[in-house]
Symmetry: C2
Subunit: 320 residues, 2 copies
Protein backbone atom coordinates (compact mmCIF):
# COMPACT_ATOMS: atom_id res chain seq x y z
CA UNK A 1 0.00 0.00 0.00
CA UNK A 2 1.16 3.54 -0.74
CA UNK A 3 2.34 5.89 1.96
CA UNK A 4 -0.61 7.80 3.35
CA UNK A 5 1.22 10.91 4.49
CA UNK A 6 -1.58 13.09 3.17
CA UNK A 7 -4.34 11.41 5.18
CA UNK A 8 -2.11 11.15 8.23
CA UNK A 9 -1.49 14.90 7.91
CA UNK A 10 -5.22 15.59 7.73
CA UNK A 11 -5.97 13.35 10.73
CA UNK A 12 -3.18 14.45 13.01
CA UNK A 13 -2.56 18.06 11.98
CA UNK A 14 -5.72 19.47 10.41
CA UNK A 15 -8.36 17.63 12.46
CA UNK A 16 -7.39 19.49 15.69
CA UNK A 17 -8.19 22.76 13.88
CA UNK A 18 -11.86 21.74 13.76
CA UNK A 19 -11.98 21.80 17.58
CA UNK A 20 -14.78 19.24 17.44
CA UNK A 21 -17.16 21.55 15.58
CA UNK A 22 -19.99 19.34 14.27
CA UNK A 23 -20.06 21.16 10.90
CA UNK A 24 -16.63 19.71 10.10
CA UNK A 25 -17.89 16.10 10.40
CA UNK A 26 -14.44 15.18 11.70
CA UNK A 27 -12.96 16.03 8.26
CA UNK A 28 -13.97 12.46 7.45
CA UNK A 29 -16.62 13.21 4.85
CA UNK A 30 -16.87 14.66 1.37
CA UNK A 31 -18.21 18.02 2.54
CA UNK A 32 -19.00 20.13 5.58
CA UNK A 33 -22.57 20.41 6.88
CA UNK A 34 -23.63 23.76 8.20
CA UNK A 35 -26.78 24.42 10.17
CA UNK A 36 -27.93 28.01 9.70
CA UNK A 37 -29.36 29.82 12.71
CA UNK A 38 -32.93 31.05 12.18
CA UNK A 39 -33.03 34.64 10.92
CA UNK A 40 -29.41 34.52 9.77
CA UNK A 41 -27.84 34.58 6.35
CA UNK A 42 -24.64 32.75 5.47
CA UNK A 43 -21.77 34.91 4.20
CA UNK A 44 -19.19 33.25 1.95
CA UNK A 45 -15.90 34.87 0.99
CA UNK A 46 -13.18 33.09 -0.95
CA UNK A 47 -9.65 34.35 -1.65
CA UNK A 48 -6.46 32.74 -2.91
CA UNK A 49 -3.00 33.77 -1.78
CA UNK A 50 -0.17 32.76 -4.08
CA UNK A 51 3.51 32.77 -3.06
CA UNK A 52 5.38 35.40 -5.03
CA UNK A 53 2.15 37.30 -5.73
CA UNK A 54 0.33 37.85 -2.41
CA UNK A 55 3.21 37.05 -0.11
CA UNK A 56 6.96 36.62 -0.42
CA UNK A 57 8.61 33.27 -1.03
CA UNK A 58 10.72 34.09 2.02
CA UNK A 59 7.76 34.74 4.33
CA UNK A 60 7.61 32.44 7.36
CA UNK A 61 4.76 29.95 7.90
CA UNK A 62 3.40 32.26 10.61
CA UNK A 63 3.28 35.24 8.23
CA UNK A 64 1.59 33.26 5.47
CA UNK A 65 -1.01 31.84 7.87
CA UNK A 66 -1.73 35.25 9.39
CA UNK A 67 -2.05 37.00 6.04
CA UNK A 68 -4.21 34.23 4.57
CA UNK A 69 -6.74 34.10 7.38
CA UNK A 70 -6.77 37.82 8.16
CA UNK A 71 -7.11 39.07 4.60
CA UNK A 72 -10.06 36.76 4.15
CA UNK A 73 -11.57 37.83 7.49
CA UNK A 74 -11.31 41.40 6.29
CA UNK A 75 -13.85 40.55 3.59
CA UNK A 76 -16.27 39.37 6.28
CA UNK A 77 -15.57 42.55 8.26
CA UNK A 78 -16.47 44.66 5.24
CA UNK A 79 -19.88 42.95 5.10
CA UNK A 80 -20.46 43.33 8.86
CA UNK A 81 -20.49 39.54 9.33
CA UNK A 82 -19.38 37.36 12.23
CA UNK A 83 -16.91 34.58 11.33
CA UNK A 84 -18.20 31.04 11.83
CA UNK A 85 -15.68 28.72 10.15
CA UNK A 86 -13.50 28.22 7.10
CA UNK A 87 -12.48 25.69 4.46
CA UNK A 88 -8.84 25.58 3.46
CA UNK A 89 -7.62 24.37 0.06
CA UNK A 90 -3.85 24.28 0.15
CA UNK A 91 -1.58 23.33 -2.76
CA UNK A 92 1.82 22.44 -1.29
CA UNK A 93 5.04 22.58 -3.28
CA UNK A 94 7.49 19.79 -2.56
CA UNK A 95 10.07 22.27 -1.30
CA UNK A 96 7.95 22.91 1.77
CA UNK A 97 8.70 19.94 3.99
CA UNK A 98 6.76 18.45 6.89
CA UNK A 99 8.30 20.89 9.39
CA UNK A 100 7.13 23.89 7.33
CA UNK A 101 3.64 22.42 6.96
CA UNK A 102 3.40 21.77 10.68
CA UNK A 103 4.55 25.27 11.57
CA UNK A 104 1.94 26.62 9.15
CA UNK A 105 -0.82 24.58 10.75
CA UNK A 106 0.23 25.65 14.25
CA UNK A 107 0.12 29.28 13.12
CA UNK A 108 -3.30 28.76 11.52
CA UNK A 109 -4.50 27.37 14.85
CA UNK A 110 -3.29 30.45 16.72
CA UNK A 111 -4.92 32.70 14.13
CA UNK A 112 -8.30 30.98 14.18
CA UNK A 113 -8.35 31.00 17.98
CA UNK A 114 -7.66 34.72 17.97
CA UNK A 115 -10.66 35.37 15.73
CA UNK A 116 -13.02 32.74 17.08
CA UNK A 117 -13.53 30.44 14.12
CA UNK A 118 -12.62 26.85 13.26
CA UNK A 119 -11.70 24.76 10.25
CA UNK A 120 -14.70 22.90 8.83
CA UNK A 121 -13.36 21.38 5.61
CA UNK A 122 -11.17 21.70 2.59
CA UNK A 123 -8.58 20.01 0.46
CA UNK A 124 -4.89 19.15 0.52
CA UNK A 125 -3.00 18.78 -2.75
CA UNK A 126 0.51 18.95 -4.12
CA UNK A 127 1.66 21.41 -6.77
CA UNK A 128 4.71 21.81 -8.98
CA UNK A 129 4.21 25.57 -8.56
CA UNK A 130 4.21 28.03 -5.67
CA UNK A 131 2.37 27.54 -2.39
CA UNK A 132 -1.26 28.51 -2.99
CA UNK A 133 -3.59 28.94 -0.04
CA UNK A 134 -7.28 29.34 -0.83
CA UNK A 135 -9.57 29.93 2.11
CA UNK A 136 -13.34 30.00 1.94
CA UNK A 137 -14.60 31.91 4.95
CA UNK A 138 -18.07 31.23 6.27
CA UNK A 139 -19.77 33.93 8.30
CA UNK A 140 -23.19 34.66 9.64
CA UNK A 141 -25.24 37.82 9.70
CA UNK A 142 -28.77 38.77 10.64
CA UNK A 143 -30.84 38.58 7.46
CA UNK A 144 -30.93 41.87 5.59
CA UNK A 145 -28.29 43.69 7.65
CA UNK A 146 -25.15 43.06 5.54
CA UNK A 147 -23.08 46.05 4.52
CA UNK A 148 -22.84 46.38 0.75
CA UNK A 149 -20.80 48.41 -1.69
CA UNK A 150 -23.85 49.72 -3.45
CA UNK A 151 -25.52 52.03 -0.92
CA UNK A 152 -23.51 55.26 -1.21
CA UNK A 153 -25.56 58.38 -2.09
CA UNK A 154 -24.49 61.90 -3.18
CA UNK A 155 -23.99 64.24 -0.23
CA UNK A 156 -22.76 61.52 2.13
CA UNK A 157 -19.34 61.45 3.78
CA UNK A 158 -16.50 59.08 2.93
CA UNK A 159 -14.69 57.56 5.95
CA UNK A 160 -11.74 55.30 6.51
CA UNK A 161 -10.51 53.43 9.58
CA UNK A 162 -6.95 53.30 10.91
CA UNK A 163 -4.02 54.43 8.78
CA UNK A 164 -3.49 54.01 5.06
CA UNK A 165 -0.21 53.04 3.44
CA UNK A 166 1.47 50.86 6.06
CA UNK A 167 0.49 47.78 4.05
CA UNK A 168 2.70 48.96 1.19
CA UNK A 169 5.51 50.16 3.45
CA UNK A 170 5.44 46.84 5.28
CA UNK A 171 5.75 45.00 1.99
CA UNK A 172 8.71 47.21 1.00
CA UNK A 173 10.30 46.44 4.40
CA UNK A 174 9.69 42.71 4.01
CA UNK A 175 11.27 42.76 0.55
CA UNK A 176 14.44 44.46 1.76
CA UNK A 177 15.59 42.97 5.06
CA UNK A 178 17.33 45.58 7.22
CA UNK A 179 15.33 48.52 5.89
CA UNK A 180 12.42 47.94 8.22
CA UNK A 181 10.10 50.90 8.57
CA UNK A 182 9.00 50.93 12.21
CA UNK A 183 5.72 49.14 12.72
CA UNK A 184 4.94 48.78 9.04
CA UNK A 185 6.46 45.34 8.72
CA UNK A 186 4.10 44.04 11.39
CA UNK A 187 1.14 45.68 9.65
CA UNK A 188 2.09 43.82 6.47
CA UNK A 189 2.75 40.52 8.20
CA UNK A 190 -0.26 40.51 10.48
CA UNK A 191 -2.98 42.97 9.47
CA UNK A 192 -5.86 43.13 11.92
CA UNK A 193 -9.25 42.74 10.20
CA UNK A 194 -11.82 45.28 11.41
CA UNK A 195 -14.45 42.74 12.43
CA UNK A 196 -15.87 44.69 15.38
CA UNK A 197 -16.03 47.87 13.37
CA UNK A 198 -17.84 46.10 10.54
CA UNK A 199 -20.43 44.72 12.94
CA UNK A 200 -20.96 48.14 14.50
CA UNK A 201 -21.30 49.94 11.17
CA UNK A 202 -24.43 48.03 10.24
CA UNK A 203 -27.32 50.49 10.19
CA UNK A 204 -24.83 53.38 10.14
CA UNK A 205 -22.70 53.04 7.01
CA UNK A 206 -24.46 53.19 3.65
CA UNK A 207 -21.66 51.31 1.84
CA UNK A 208 -18.43 49.61 2.88
CA UNK A 209 -15.42 47.78 1.46
CA UNK A 210 -12.08 46.70 2.86
CA UNK A 211 -8.94 48.36 1.54
CA UNK A 212 -7.17 45.46 -0.14
CA UNK A 213 -6.62 46.59 -3.75
CA UNK A 214 -5.59 50.14 -2.78
CA UNK A 215 -7.61 53.01 -1.27
CA UNK A 216 -8.38 54.71 -4.60
CA UNK A 217 -9.16 51.44 -6.39
CA UNK A 218 -11.47 50.36 -3.56
CA UNK A 219 -13.13 53.78 -3.54
CA UNK A 220 -13.68 53.12 -7.23
CA UNK A 221 -15.42 49.83 -6.44
CA UNK A 222 -17.89 51.66 -4.13
CA UNK A 223 -18.39 54.38 -6.74
CA UNK A 224 -19.12 51.81 -9.45
CA UNK A 225 -21.45 49.68 -7.29
CA UNK A 226 -23.30 52.77 -6.03
CA UNK A 227 -23.39 54.57 -9.40
CA UNK A 228 -21.88 57.66 -7.75
CA UNK A 229 -18.58 59.48 -7.70
CA UNK A 230 -16.32 59.44 -4.62
CA UNK A 231 -14.19 62.49 -3.91
CA UNK A 232 -11.15 61.69 -1.77
CA UNK A 233 -9.40 64.68 -0.16
CA UNK A 234 -5.95 63.15 -0.20
CA UNK A 235 -4.47 65.57 2.39
CA UNK A 236 -6.95 64.23 4.95
CA UNK A 237 -6.12 60.55 4.45
CA UNK A 238 -4.65 59.38 7.77
CA UNK A 239 -1.10 58.01 7.59
CA UNK A 240 1.12 56.66 10.35
CA UNK A 241 4.18 58.54 11.66
CA UNK A 242 6.25 55.96 9.78
CA UNK A 243 4.47 56.79 6.55
CA UNK A 244 4.84 60.53 7.22
CA UNK A 245 8.61 60.05 7.62
CA UNK A 246 8.65 58.05 4.40
CA UNK A 247 6.74 60.79 2.56
CA UNK A 248 9.09 63.47 3.92
CA UNK A 249 12.09 61.53 2.67
CA UNK A 250 10.71 61.55 -0.87
CA UNK A 251 8.01 58.86 -0.93
CA UNK A 252 4.92 59.58 -3.03
CA UNK A 253 1.47 59.75 -1.47
CA UNK A 254 -0.17 58.30 -4.56
CA UNK A 255 1.85 55.11 -4.06
CA UNK A 256 0.44 54.74 -0.54
CA UNK A 257 -3.10 55.35 -1.80
CA UNK A 258 -2.68 52.65 -4.45
CA UNK A 259 -0.68 50.21 -2.35
CA UNK A 260 -3.42 48.05 -0.93
CA UNK A 261 -3.10 45.41 1.76
CA UNK A 262 -4.17 47.87 4.45
CA UNK A 263 -7.25 45.86 5.46
CA UNK A 264 -8.92 48.98 6.82
CA UNK A 265 -12.58 49.70 6.16
CA UNK A 266 -13.55 52.40 3.69
CA UNK A 267 -17.18 53.39 4.12
CA UNK A 268 -19.76 56.01 3.37
CA UNK A 269 -22.40 57.41 5.73
CA UNK A 270 -24.93 60.25 5.82
CA UNK A 271 -23.62 63.52 7.26
CA UNK A 272 -26.12 63.15 10.10
CA UNK A 273 -24.16 60.16 11.40
CA UNK A 274 -20.92 62.05 12.12
CA UNK A 275 -21.37 62.18 15.87
CA UNK A 276 -22.33 58.53 16.15
CA UNK A 277 -19.35 57.52 14.04
CA UNK A 278 -17.01 59.65 16.16
CA UNK A 279 -18.42 58.00 19.27
CA UNK A 280 -17.98 54.59 17.71
CA UNK A 281 -14.31 55.33 16.98
CA UNK A 282 -13.81 56.26 20.62
CA UNK A 283 -15.59 53.20 21.97
CA UNK A 284 -13.61 50.85 19.69
CA UNK A 285 -10.38 52.85 20.21
CA UNK A 286 -10.11 53.00 16.43
CA UNK A 287 -9.14 55.97 14.33
CA UNK A 288 -12.07 56.88 12.06
CA UNK A 289 -11.38 59.73 9.65
CA UNK A 290 -13.61 61.62 7.25
CA UNK A 291 -11.68 61.79 3.98
CA UNK A 292 -14.14 62.98 1.36
CA UNK A 293 -17.64 63.09 -0.05
CA UNK A 294 -19.96 61.16 -2.26
CA UNK A 295 -21.02 63.11 -5.34
CA UNK A 296 -23.14 62.60 -8.41
CA UNK A 297 -21.24 61.25 -11.39
CA UNK A 298 -18.87 58.33 -11.61
CA UNK A 299 -15.35 57.28 -10.69
CA UNK A 300 -12.99 58.61 -8.06
CA UNK A 301 -11.66 62.15 -7.80
CA UNK A 302 -8.47 62.37 -5.71
CA UNK A 303 -8.09 66.04 -4.75
CA UNK A 304 -5.32 67.97 -3.02
CA UNK A 305 -6.12 70.59 -0.37
CA UNK A 306 -5.70 73.43 -2.90
CA UNK A 307 -8.39 71.92 -5.06
CA UNK A 308 -6.06 70.53 -7.72
CA UNK A 309 -6.45 66.93 -8.81
CA UNK A 310 -3.96 64.19 -8.00
CA UNK A 311 -3.16 62.17 -11.12
CA UNK A 312 -2.18 58.82 -9.61
CA UNK A 313 0.06 56.69 -11.80
CA UNK A 314 -2.15 53.79 -10.83
CA UNK A 315 -5.08 53.31 -8.50
CA UNK A 316 -4.33 49.81 -7.32
CA UNK A 317 -3.15 46.32 -8.10
CA UNK A 318 -4.75 44.20 -10.82
CA UNK A 319 -3.83 40.68 -11.82
CA UNK A 320 -4.12 41.15 -15.58
Amino acid sequence: MAGDGEFEFIRTRLLPLTEGDPAALGLADDAALLQAEPGQETVLACDSLVAGVHFLDSDTPAVVAARALRSNLSDLAAMGARPRGYLSAIAWPEALDAAWREAFVRALHREQSRYGLVLIGGDTTSTPGPLTVTLTLVGQIETGTALRRSGARPGEDVWVSGMIGDGLLGLLSARKAGTELAGALERYQAPDPRLELGLALRGLASAAIDVSDGLLADAGHIAAASACSLRVDVDTVPVSPTARDWLESGGALDALLAGGDDYELLFTAPAGCRERIAALGLSLDTNLTRIGSVMAGEGVQARWGDGSLMQPRKSGFTHF
Copy 2:
Protein backbone atom coordinates in the same frame (compact mmCIF):
# COMPACT_ATOMS: atom_id res chain seq x y z
CA MET B 1 -4.60 54.60 -14.00
CA ALA B 2 -3.58 50.95 -14.33
CA GLY B 3 -5.23 48.63 -16.77
CA ASP B 4 -8.23 47.02 -15.16
CA GLY B 5 -8.30 43.82 -17.18
CA GLU B 6 -9.04 41.80 -14.06
CA PHE B 7 -12.16 43.75 -13.08
CA GLU B 8 -13.28 43.97 -16.70
CA PHE B 9 -12.94 40.17 -16.88
CA ILE B 10 -15.03 39.75 -13.75
CA ARG B 11 -17.71 42.14 -14.98
CA THR B 12 -18.00 40.94 -18.57
CA ARG B 13 -17.06 37.24 -18.32
CA LEU B 14 -17.79 36.01 -14.79
CA LEU B 15 -20.84 38.11 -13.96
CA PRO B 16 -23.02 36.31 -16.58
CA LEU B 17 -22.26 33.04 -14.73
CA THR B 18 -24.24 34.32 -11.74
CA GLU B 19 -27.40 34.40 -13.90
CA GLY B 20 -28.73 37.14 -11.64
CA ASP B 21 -28.80 34.95 -8.54
CA PRO B 22 -29.26 37.32 -5.58
CA ALA B 23 -26.71 35.38 -3.47
CA ALA B 24 -23.95 36.54 -5.82
CA LEU B 25 -24.68 40.24 -5.11
CA GLY B 26 -23.63 40.95 -8.69
CA LEU B 27 -20.04 39.89 -7.84
CA ALA B 28 -19.73 43.51 -6.68
CA ASP B 29 -19.24 42.84 -2.97
CA ASP B 30 -16.68 41.28 -0.66
CA ALA B 31 -18.65 38.07 -0.14
CA ALA B 32 -21.73 36.14 -1.21
CA LEU B 33 -24.89 36.17 0.89
CA LEU B 34 -26.83 32.94 1.09
CA GLN B 35 -30.31 32.59 2.48
CA ALA B 36 -30.87 29.08 3.83
CA GLU B 37 -34.25 27.47 3.26
CA PRO B 38 -36.00 26.49 6.49
CA GLY B 39 -35.33 22.88 7.45
CA GLN B 40 -32.26 22.69 5.20
CA GLU B 41 -28.59 22.41 5.97
CA THR B 42 -25.86 23.96 3.85
CA VAL B 43 -23.32 21.55 2.37
CA LEU B 44 -19.87 22.95 1.55
CA ALA B 45 -17.27 21.05 -0.47
CA CYS B 46 -13.97 22.57 -1.58
CA ASP B 47 -11.42 21.04 -3.96
CA SER B 48 -8.42 22.36 -5.84
CA LEU B 49 -7.38 21.12 -9.28
CA VAL B 50 -3.79 21.85 -10.23
CA ALA B 51 -2.46 21.62 -13.81
CA GLY B 52 0.04 18.79 -14.05
CA VAL B 53 -1.44 17.09 -10.95
CA HIS B 54 -5.22 16.80 -11.43
CA PHE B 55 -5.32 17.47 -15.15
CA LEU B 56 -2.84 17.63 -17.97
CA ASP B 57 -1.13 20.80 -19.08
CA SER B 58 -2.42 19.96 -22.54
CA ASP B 59 -6.07 19.61 -21.50
CA THR B 60 -8.42 22.03 -23.25
CA PRO B 61 -10.34 24.74 -21.38
CA ALA B 62 -13.49 22.63 -21.79
CA VAL B 63 -11.86 19.58 -20.18
CA VAL B 64 -10.49 21.58 -17.25
CA ALA B 65 -13.84 23.25 -16.64
CA ALA B 66 -15.75 19.97 -16.83
CA ARG B 67 -13.37 18.14 -14.52
CA ALA B 68 -13.24 20.98 -12.00
CA LEU B 69 -16.98 21.40 -11.65
CA ARG B 70 -17.89 17.73 -11.95
CA SER B 71 -15.32 16.36 -9.51
CA ASN B 72 -16.53 18.89 -6.96
CA LEU B 73 -20.18 18.04 -7.70
CA SER B 74 -19.31 14.42 -7.07
CA ASP B 75 -18.58 15.35 -3.44
CA LEU B 76 -22.08 16.80 -3.14
CA ALA B 77 -23.51 13.65 -4.75
CA ALA B 78 -21.74 11.50 -2.16
CA MET B 79 -23.52 13.43 0.61
CA GLY B 80 -26.91 13.23 -1.13
CA ALA B 81 -27.02 17.03 -1.53
CA ARG B 82 -28.54 19.23 -4.21
CA PRO B 83 -26.18 21.79 -5.78
CA ARG B 84 -27.07 25.43 -5.15
CA GLY B 85 -24.07 27.49 -6.26
CA TYR B 86 -20.31 27.74 -6.25
CA LEU B 87 -17.41 30.09 -5.61
CA SER B 88 -14.44 29.90 -7.96
CA ALA B 89 -10.90 30.90 -6.97
CA ILE B 90 -8.75 30.70 -10.07
CA ALA B 91 -5.00 31.39 -10.22
CA TRP B 92 -4.13 32.11 -13.88
CA PRO B 93 -0.65 31.66 -15.28
CA GLU B 94 0.44 34.28 -17.78
CA ALA B 95 0.76 31.65 -20.50
CA LEU B 96 -3.04 31.28 -20.59
CA ASP B 97 -4.17 34.27 -22.59
CA ALA B 98 -7.52 36.00 -22.79
CA ALA B 99 -8.80 33.55 -25.42
CA TRP B 100 -8.06 30.56 -23.16
CA ARG B 101 -9.70 32.27 -20.19
CA GLU B 102 -12.78 33.08 -22.22
CA ALA B 103 -13.09 29.55 -23.55
CA PHE B 104 -12.78 28.30 -19.96
CA VAL B 105 -15.54 30.60 -18.75
CA ARG B 106 -17.82 29.58 -21.64
CA ALA B 107 -17.23 25.93 -20.74
CA LEU B 108 -17.93 26.64 -17.07
CA HIS B 109 -21.21 28.23 -18.12
CA ARG B 110 -22.22 25.14 -20.11
CA GLU B 111 -21.26 22.91 -17.17
CA GLN B 112 -23.15 24.87 -14.54
CA SER B 113 -26.25 24.99 -16.74
CA ARG B 114 -26.10 21.23 -17.14
CA TYR B 115 -26.11 20.71 -13.39
CA GLY B 116 -28.39 23.58 -12.37
CA LEU B 117 -26.14 25.78 -10.32
CA VAL B 118 -24.65 29.27 -10.65
CA LEU B 119 -21.54 31.17 -9.70
CA ILE B 120 -22.03 33.20 -6.50
CA GLY B 121 -18.54 34.50 -5.73
CA GLY B 122 -14.83 33.90 -5.70
CA ASP B 123 -11.48 35.33 -6.59
CA THR B 124 -9.29 35.91 -9.64
CA THR B 125 -5.51 36.03 -9.24
CA SER B 126 -2.35 35.57 -11.26
CA THR B 127 0.27 32.91 -10.53
CA PRO B 128 3.81 32.24 -11.67
CA GLY B 129 2.92 28.54 -11.37
CA PRO B 130 0.41 26.19 -12.99
CA LEU B 131 -3.28 26.94 -13.46
CA THR B 132 -5.00 26.20 -10.15
CA VAL B 133 -8.78 26.04 -9.99
CA THR B 134 -10.34 25.89 -6.54
CA LEU B 135 -14.10 25.57 -6.41
CA THR B 136 -16.18 25.76 -3.28
CA LEU B 137 -19.48 24.04 -3.96
CA VAL B 138 -22.54 25.03 -1.99
CA GLY B 139 -25.35 22.52 -1.69
CA GLN B 140 -28.52 22.09 0.29
CA ILE B 141 -29.99 19.10 2.01
CA GLU B 142 -32.89 18.45 4.35
CA THR B 143 -31.53 18.67 7.89
CA GLY B 144 -30.32 15.33 9.19
CA THR B 145 -30.56 13.42 5.90
CA ALA B 146 -26.97 13.74 4.61
CA LEU B 147 -25.15 10.56 3.63
CA ARG B 148 -21.99 10.10 5.68
CA ARG B 149 -18.96 7.84 5.54
CA SER B 150 -19.44 6.67 9.08
CA GLY B 151 -22.62 4.59 9.04
CA ALA B 152 -21.44 1.20 7.71
CA ARG B 153 -22.16 -1.78 10.00
CA PRO B 154 -20.91 -5.39 9.90
CA GLY B 155 -23.17 -7.65 7.84
CA GLU B 156 -24.15 -4.94 5.37
CA ASP B 157 -23.46 -5.05 1.64
CA VAL B 158 -20.93 -2.94 -0.25
CA TRP B 159 -22.18 -1.46 -3.53
CA VAL B 160 -20.75 0.60 -6.33
CA SER B 161 -22.37 2.50 -9.21
CA GLY B 162 -21.30 2.43 -12.85
CA MET B 163 -17.97 0.99 -13.92
CA ILE B 164 -14.62 1.25 -12.17
CA GLY B 165 -11.32 1.93 -13.88
CA ASP B 166 -12.27 4.06 -16.87
CA GLY B 167 -11.01 7.12 -15.01
CA LEU B 168 -7.51 5.69 -15.05
CA LEU B 169 -7.74 4.38 -18.60
CA GLY B 170 -9.02 7.75 -19.75
CA LEU B 171 -6.06 9.44 -18.12
CA LEU B 172 -3.71 7.00 -19.85
CA SER B 173 -5.44 7.76 -23.16
CA ALA B 174 -5.21 11.50 -22.59
CA ARG B 175 -1.51 11.25 -21.80
CA LYS B 176 -0.75 9.35 -25.02
CA ALA B 177 -2.61 10.85 -27.92
CA GLY B 178 -3.52 8.21 -30.49
CA THR B 179 -3.84 5.34 -28.01
CA GLU B 180 -7.38 6.26 -27.07
CA LEU B 181 -9.23 3.50 -25.31
CA ALA B 182 -12.82 3.66 -26.57
CA GLY B 183 -15.04 5.71 -24.31
CA ALA B 184 -12.50 5.95 -21.49
CA LEU B 185 -11.12 9.29 -22.67
CA GLU B 186 -14.55 10.84 -22.39
CA ARG B 187 -15.02 9.37 -18.91
CA TYR B 188 -11.76 11.04 -17.88
CA GLN B 189 -12.53 14.34 -19.56
CA ALA B 190 -16.15 14.64 -18.49
CA PRO B 191 -17.09 12.35 -15.61
CA ASP B 192 -20.78 12.48 -14.71
CA PRO B 193 -21.36 13.09 -10.99
CA ARG B 194 -24.02 10.78 -9.53
CA LEU B 195 -26.22 13.53 -8.11
CA GLU B 196 -29.57 11.80 -8.66
CA LEU B 197 -28.26 8.56 -7.20
CA GLY B 198 -26.91 10.35 -4.13
CA LEU B 199 -30.27 12.00 -3.53
CA ALA B 200 -32.10 8.70 -3.92
CA LEU B 201 -29.73 6.81 -1.60
CA ARG B 202 -30.72 8.90 1.41
CA GLY B 203 -32.52 6.66 3.88
CA LEU B 204 -31.24 3.63 1.99
CA ALA B 205 -27.43 3.68 2.12
CA SER B 206 -25.76 3.54 5.53
CA ALA B 207 -22.52 5.13 4.27
CA ALA B 208 -21.34 6.63 0.99
CA ILE B 209 -18.31 8.17 -0.66
CA ASP B 210 -17.38 9.08 -4.22
CA VAL B 211 -14.58 7.14 -5.92
CA SER B 212 -11.99 9.85 -6.45
CA ASP B 213 -8.85 8.55 -4.71
CA GLY B 214 -9.27 4.97 -5.99
CA LEU B 215 -11.87 2.31 -5.15
CA LEU B 216 -9.76 0.56 -2.50
CA ALA B 217 -8.55 3.80 -0.93
CA ASP B 218 -12.09 5.15 -0.79
CA ALA B 219 -13.35 1.86 0.67
CA GLY B 220 -10.65 2.41 3.29
CA HIS B 221 -12.09 5.84 4.08
CA ILE B 222 -15.52 4.31 4.77
CA ALA B 223 -13.91 1.53 6.82
CA ALA B 224 -11.97 4.04 8.93
CA ALA B 225 -14.92 6.40 9.44
CA SER B 226 -17.26 3.50 10.29
CA ALA B 227 -14.72 1.59 12.44
CA CYS B 228 -15.41 -1.52 10.34
CA SER B 229 -13.62 -3.58 7.72
CA LEU B 230 -14.77 -3.58 4.09
CA ARG B 231 -14.31 -6.76 2.05
CA VAL B 232 -14.18 -6.10 -1.70
CA ASP B 233 -14.67 -9.15 -3.94
CA VAL B 234 -12.50 -7.89 -6.76
CA ASP B 235 -13.89 -10.29 -9.38
CA THR B 236 -17.31 -8.69 -8.94
CA VAL B 237 -16.16 -5.12 -9.45
CA PRO B 238 -17.88 -3.91 -12.65
CA VAL B 239 -15.56 -2.83 -15.42
CA SER B 240 -16.37 -1.53 -18.91
CA PRO B 241 -15.76 -3.58 -22.08
CA THR B 242 -12.83 -1.24 -22.74
CA ALA B 243 -11.34 -2.04 -19.34
CA ARG B 244 -11.94 -5.76 -19.91
CA ASP B 245 -9.99 -5.57 -23.19
CA TRP B 246 -7.23 -3.69 -21.41
CA LEU B 247 -7.06 -6.33 -18.67
CA GLU B 248 -6.95 -9.13 -21.25
CA SER B 249 -4.06 -7.45 -23.01
CA GLY B 250 -2.02 -7.50 -19.82
CA GLY B 251 -3.35 -4.65 -17.72
CA ALA B 252 -3.54 -5.21 -13.95
CA LEU B 253 -6.86 -5.06 -12.11
CA ASP B 254 -5.24 -3.61 -9.00
CA ALA B 255 -4.20 -0.57 -11.05
CA LEU B 256 -7.86 0.03 -12.00
CA LEU B 257 -8.96 -0.36 -8.40
CA ALA B 258 -6.38 2.19 -7.26
CA GLY B 259 -6.72 4.56 -10.20
CA GLY B 260 -9.32 6.97 -8.91
CA ASP B 261 -11.12 9.68 -10.86
CA ASP B 262 -14.09 7.40 -11.49
CA TYR B 263 -16.57 9.65 -9.67
CA GLU B 264 -18.87 6.72 -9.03
CA LEU B 265 -20.57 6.24 -5.66
CA LEU B 266 -19.33 3.52 -3.32
CA PHE B 267 -21.88 2.83 -0.61
CA THR B 268 -22.99 0.36 2.01
CA ALA B 269 -26.53 -0.74 2.80
CA PRO B 270 -28.30 -3.39 4.89
CA ALA B 271 -28.91 -6.69 3.09
CA GLY B 272 -32.66 -6.04 3.43
CA CYS B 273 -32.35 -3.16 0.96
CA ARG B 274 -31.15 -5.26 -2.00
CA GLU B 275 -34.43 -5.19 -3.87
CA ARG B 276 -34.97 -1.50 -3.37
CA ILE B 277 -31.44 -0.79 -4.58
CA ALA B 278 -31.92 -3.00 -7.62
CA ALA B 279 -35.15 -1.15 -8.40
CA LEU B 280 -33.38 2.18 -7.95
CA GLY B 281 -30.70 1.14 -10.44
CA LEU B 282 -33.40 0.30 -12.96
CA SER B 283 -35.31 3.54 -12.45
CA LEU B 284 -32.13 5.63 -12.80
CA ASP B 285 -30.81 3.45 -15.62
CA THR B 286 -27.61 3.14 -13.60
CA ASN B 287 -25.55 0.04 -13.03
CA LEU B 288 -25.52 -0.74 -9.29
CA THR B 289 -23.38 -3.72 -8.32
CA ARG B 290 -22.90 -5.50 -5.01
CA ILE B 291 -19.14 -5.94 -4.64
CA GLY B 292 -18.57 -7.05 -1.06
CA SER B 293 -19.50 -6.96 2.59
CA VAL B 294 -18.94 -4.95 5.70
CA MET B 295 -17.22 -6.94 8.45
CA ALA B 296 -15.95 -6.36 11.95
CA GLY B 297 -12.32 -5.29 12.11
CA GLU B 298 -10.55 -2.56 10.23
CA GLY B 299 -9.16 -1.72 6.81
CA VAL B 300 -9.98 -3.13 3.40
CA GLN B 301 -9.67 -6.73 2.31
CA ALA B 302 -9.48 -7.10 -1.49
CA ARG B 303 -10.30 -10.76 -2.23
CA TRP B 304 -10.19 -12.85 -5.41
CA GLY B 305 -12.98 -15.31 -6.22
CA ASP B 306 -10.90 -18.25 -4.96
CA GLY B 307 -10.63 -16.62 -1.55
CA SER B 308 -7.01 -15.52 -1.91
CA LEU B 309 -6.12 -11.92 -1.10
CA MET B 310 -5.10 -9.36 -3.68
CA GLN B 311 -1.99 -7.52 -2.57
CA PRO B 312 -2.36 -4.21 -4.39
CA ARG B 313 0.87 -2.30 -4.95
CA LYS B 314 -1.02 0.78 -3.88
CA SER B 315 -4.59 1.54 -2.91
CA GLY B 316 -4.83 5.01 -4.34
CA PHE B 317 -3.26 8.38 -4.97
CA THR B 318 -1.86 10.50 -2.14
CA HIS B 319 -0.25 13.92 -2.43
CA PHE B 320 2.58 13.33 0.02
